[in-house]
């Protein structure tokens, strides 16, 4: 990486060090290790297999601002959010957790990360151990500046009845701000809950969200992770979610990606003990010049694990989609049952999707399948609808809506299904305005 561009990161790191922030020794060491890893590797290039289809030049050449003044949201906006999304709300503004305006459920612990890192030494065994800072430059960068974010702890046997929404609002006063929040979820034994990570923007400035989430499911826990990425069209959104599953735990996720100029959304699931199951679903919808890259990696380490993956892409204008999904079945992970499906619909001649399903099986007695497809609207289907009086554009819109319905139906909870339907319909309007 260009030395002058790297300078801004090392300078910001040094400034943070001398800023007199108190932090436990293990955090300091972790941050230093992460910074060293980032300096050594820099951002990946298209020569890296996992980044073959996603060019990070714009990020690599970008000048970013690490320190920004806290901004407060108008009270009316907070009230609106509460009305719209119900009770449990964790609010972040420009990457910073704002406890005063959050409303939290009683039976689970939500703690700002600075406080949690200081008071809970046991976090050392989780924070930075699941997310791979050696392999992933964005994790390294996020970890080097570890400090903002929340810890969500659902105690053993507890059920979080109302979904908890983590509302990340980007409203920078200047162009080029970088936000690096971190989410750590500890779901205790036999606990259950749902969180929604929701990224949105208020202003018109460019910015860079670089977020890392780590989710640990203890034995028998059941956890849902929904994500809505509706960042500004001027934003970079780099995200990775790292899930660790203990025996008999169940994890499901659903990721909707409609925003940002350039997105990379990674999901790593480690099925580290027996009889775990996970289901990952997602939909990316692009228009204009958006570049949306969705990657998954499922690591079947022990017997009788089950994984389901279902992702769809719908790209209009000159947008580009990327899907890379890997399923690894390690030696001894017998009776693994894994499926992966990725289907993409192109709404214009200039839109493009690269899909790369990968299956690596190092054991016998497994059931695995994968399938991927990329194509335009089916001509016969368009003809069928038009022959019933439906105009050409409406026919396309109806078919596109139908195409995504299947993956929307995979969302397990009605509140989220309704939200998906509304957001997808809005995005479709934008996509068809351009095509």
């Amino acid at each position: 990486m260009d030395k002058t561009k790297m300078q801004q990161y090392t300078d910001a790191f040094e400034a943070r060090k001398t800023g007199g922030m108190s932090e436990p020794l293990w955090v300091r060491r972790l941050r230093e290790e992460a910074m060293a890893a980032f300096v050594e590797k820099g951002f990946p290039s298209t020569r890296d297999e996992a980044w073959r289809h996603t060019d990070l030049t714009a990020v690599r050449e970008g000048a970013f601002i690490f320190e920004h003044k806290p901004v407060s949201l108008p009270q009316g906006r907070i009230e609106d959010l509460k009305k719209e999304y119900g009770g449990n709300l964790v609010v972040f503004v420009n990457g910073r957790y704002v406890e005063e305006v959050s409303s939290l459920p009683g039976n689970i612990g939500v703690t700002g990360l600075p406080k949690a890192l200081e008071s809970m030494p046991e976090l050392e065994s989780h924070c930075g151990t699941h997310a791979d800072l050696k392999q992933n430059a964005f994790v390294a960068l996020n970890t080097a500046f570890l400090g903002e974010g929340v810890l969500i702890k659902i105690p053993e046997g507890q059920v979080l009845e109302v979904p908890l929404r983590l509302m990340f609002i980007a409203d920078p006063a200047i162009d080029g701000a970088i936000f690096q929040p971190r989410v750590l979820v500890l779901a205790g034994k036999r606990s259950a809950g749902t969180i929604v990570e929701h990224y949105s923007s208020a202003g018109s400035k460019s910015y860079f969200t670089n977020v890392v989430s780590e989710i640990i499911l203890e034995e028998g826990a059941s956890f849902r992770h929904y994500k809505i990425q509706d960042e500004s069209k001027k934003a970079f959104h780099m995200a990775s979610t790292w899930v660790v599953q203990e025996k008999g735990s169940r994890f499901s996720s659903w990721a909707l990606s409609t925003g940002s100029r350039l997105m990379r959304n990674d999901c790593y699931v480690g099925l580290t003990k027996e009889e775990t199951s996970c289901a990952l679903n997602g939909l990316y919808l692009g228009d204009g010049e958006q570049h949306l890259d969705q990657h998954t990696f499922i690591d079947h380490r022990k017997p009788a694990g089950k994984s389901r993956q279902f992702f769809k892409g719908l790209m209009a204008g000159k947008s580009r989609g990327v899907f890379g999904g890997k399923v690894l079945v390690r030696q001894g992970a017998v009776q693994t049952d894994a499926t992966q499906v990725n289907k993409n619909l192109l709404l214009s001649d200039e839109a493009r999707v690269d899909t790369q399903p990968q299956l690596e099986i190092d054991t016998d007695d497994v059931k695995c399948s994968h399938g991927a497809a990329v194509g335009p609207l089916q001509e016969d289907a368009v003809f069928y609808l038009r022959s019933r009086g439906i105009g050409e554009r409406d026919a396309g819109r109806i078919l596109a809506r139908g195409f995504v319905q299947e993956v929307i139906d995979a969302a397990e909870q009605d509140f989220f299904k309704r939200e998906l339907e509304e957001r997808v319909s809005q995005k479709l309007e934008a996509q068809f305005c351009q095509s």
Binding site: F383, R386, S387, G389, E392, L399, R401, G402, Q405
Partner: protein
Amino acid sequence: MLEIKDLHVSVEGVEILKGIDLKVRAGEVHAIMGPNGSGKSTLTRVLAGHPAYQVTKGSVTYEGKDLFALSIEERARQGVFLAFQYPVDIPGVNNAYFLKAALNEIRKAKGLDELDAMEFLEFLKEKMKTVEMDESFLNRPVNEGFSGGEKKRNEILQMAVLNPKLAILDETDSGLDIDALKIISEGINRLRSPDRSIILVTHYQRILNYITPDHIHVLMGGKIVKSGGKDLALQLEEKGYEWVKET
């Protein structure tokens, strides 16, 4: 209603229809019969406006207008309906939604108010009875997972809902068992009216036991080689298409 003059049609440079002449008056039912590969389906699809076909010569006039000057959806809005030989699956789009969208487009074109969801549902349930279709089909995706017979029934339901002036039925009888054939034929007979014309394209004489046409035409090698009354079907059944060639 419809006048086809010297119609020549090619697909990917191969001429399929080689000069068709046909006149269909309001209220008439015409059966077009012929062996496989004679151009029957091509004729139906070119009338509905399928983009894969090129009209190289001739004309088609529908209600005094040049049919080929109208887009696919404009033809439908002006009363042309094609029941597909192979209805297309539309995953994720439920049948009721699709039918409502189609009907409201056609109502708009006629200058009528759109029906709201409640009005439409009532109307639709009435029509479903005429083809003995279960209400569970309303919320299933269009044609997806339907049996052959259910797909054909769905086509006739669409016809009943959209109320066309010119209905073109492409081998609606193929792949049906005798009970389904009866139900569908009754559905079609119910839709016969003095101001609606029907073109019934079929390979077999069987459906004509239930629907009596006014005229029968034999299409072979891209041309109508013989026309006659309803008795022609019986002769064909007895003697086969080869007999037409010889006469």
